[in-house]
Symmetry: C2
Subunit: 284 residues, 2 copies
């Protein structure tokens, strides 16, 4: 296949970097609630914000997906795109993962970084296609993965062009434009890339449609899934193969059955990966 | 500026190819109404379709933007993305412009093709940022302009992932997702590219915000407008500079005043362009 057709798409959370115990972007959102609460006195009594400010993570978890969406909307809108980018970069430079005590951009998967490099060395154009926020990922994808902003596809909100002091800005609005997950992944691939990948890698139920869409093209195809089986070096979750169930990055037995039935590659973290994380130069 | 930051964005209609007497995509839509009317008997009495089938272009024009949007929705949805792409390619291979009797992809502007080549030879990544339909433009942008599908940004509709006979397809829905015109251009640039251009070229009021957004960045910038002044070799329209007013590709006096006041480049077609269209090998 001609190089121009060599499109490779990768999920991000749980495929290129760590996603447990909660998505890193949710940790960022929670940290933003804490950091900006002095400007929002009403949050002291308003859920799910009150639970965050009280440090009651169990009550926060009980607020479920609806609560998390409220937190993301409140912390990802009402500022310019430039200010948001700056805030994400500052957070990534300082925040540490609760278990590994390392920066999140150091908790990427070394074998996947090598795979990205290998594909690019062979004429592939590499893309991220993730349910995560597109602007959040673009703040680090270039430096961390070698994937430039225009090759990052994610969920997104509406922005609004406005003049502030005679200068144009883009304001992030609390309104969803596109959800890049499940069937939204092939839709997003078509919308943003306009070509079908010949190579796709994911790790959870949300990647099923992207892998099916990739598989349905002509000629040779590669479909892969990261299977998190290493509780010692990272995390073990499924529930595929009897691993503990997980709300974050669910890998169901049905997905495992489909993948094995169709000959998709399963990267079993415990058995197949010599190294999980790169030697982190930036951490002690 | 490092090559990775060298983003150049171009409007399409009236900037890279001809847009008079009506947008080429509207001609495509009208042709599709005629070609598929036997499957839609109700169109015989339903406006604006009835006017098209009767060949009454004056009545069609009277239906205005609302009428055109109905025609686009009716002819750009209800099929798979693959089938739509095939239909556009077939149309482009055969349809001829009413005045020049040439294929539309031969009615591109030679100086702009040379400019695209020149920018790419100097490390620029070239993008289309147009109000036209993204899938319509992707059907020819790679071959005609050397701009691959993932670097074409345009207006778009919602697509829906579905299984047909156990194969996944994307169905084009009659629902607008994104309008890439006016303030929608910087919003689209941010949404799809995630970086601010340092070079932008347009030709009409709908490009004003893209040029302002480009101009507002740091460092050296280039902002340009094609000014259609050549009624003999192409078309002359404005109303800037006293040229005839045009609903298609309106270039207002206010835009001209802003452009000259800010030092944007005006490419005056009659005075500045030695050649308008490439020597069309594919036409008699």
């Amino acid at each position: 296949m001609a190089p121009v057709e060599r499109v490779a798409t990768f999920d991000n959370d749980g495929t290129l970097w760590i996603e447990q115990p909660i998505y890193n972007q949710f940790t960022f959102a929670i940290d933003r609630v804490k950091a900006t609460s002095n400007q929002r006195p009403e949050w002291k009594t308003q859920e799910p914000f009150a639970s965050i400010l009280k440090g009651d993570l169990k009550a926060l978890a009980a607020s479920g997906e609806k609560g998390m969406l409220e937190i993301v909307a409140a912390t990802h809108s009402g500022m310019t795109t430039a200010d948001f980018n700056k805030t994400v970069k500052e957070w990534l430079a300082t925040a540490k993962h609760p278990r590994f005590k390392m920066r999140y951009t150091d908790l990427v998967y070394q074998p996947m970084i090598e795979l990205l490099d290998y594909l690019r060395a062979n004429g592939f154009k590499t893309f991220i296609v993730s349910g995560g926020g597109v602007e959040f990922m673009r703040a680090f994808a270039d430096k961390t993965y070698g994937i430039p902003p225009e090759q990052v596809i994610g969920s997104s909100g509406v922005t609004k062009y406005q003049m502030w002091d005679a200068s144009p800005v883009l304001i992030k609005m609390p309104k969803v434009l596109f959800v890049d997950d499940g069937p939204g992944k092939p839709e997003g691939i078509d919308h943003f890339i306009g070509r079908r990948p010949i190579f796709a890698f994911g790790n959870s139920n949300g990647d099923k449609e992207m892998l099916e869409w990739t598989a349905a093209g002509d000629g040779l195809r590669f479909m892969g899934l990261v299977y998190h089986t290493d509780a010692e070096r990272e995390y073990a979750y499924g529930p595929a193969g009897g691993l503990p169930d997980s709300k974050v990055g669910t890998f169901s037995q049905a997905l495992m059955d489909e993948a094995t039935g169709k000959g998709w590659v399963i990267a079993n973290m415990k058995n197949d990966w010599k190294t999980i994380f790169p030697a982190a130069k930036s951490n002690p």
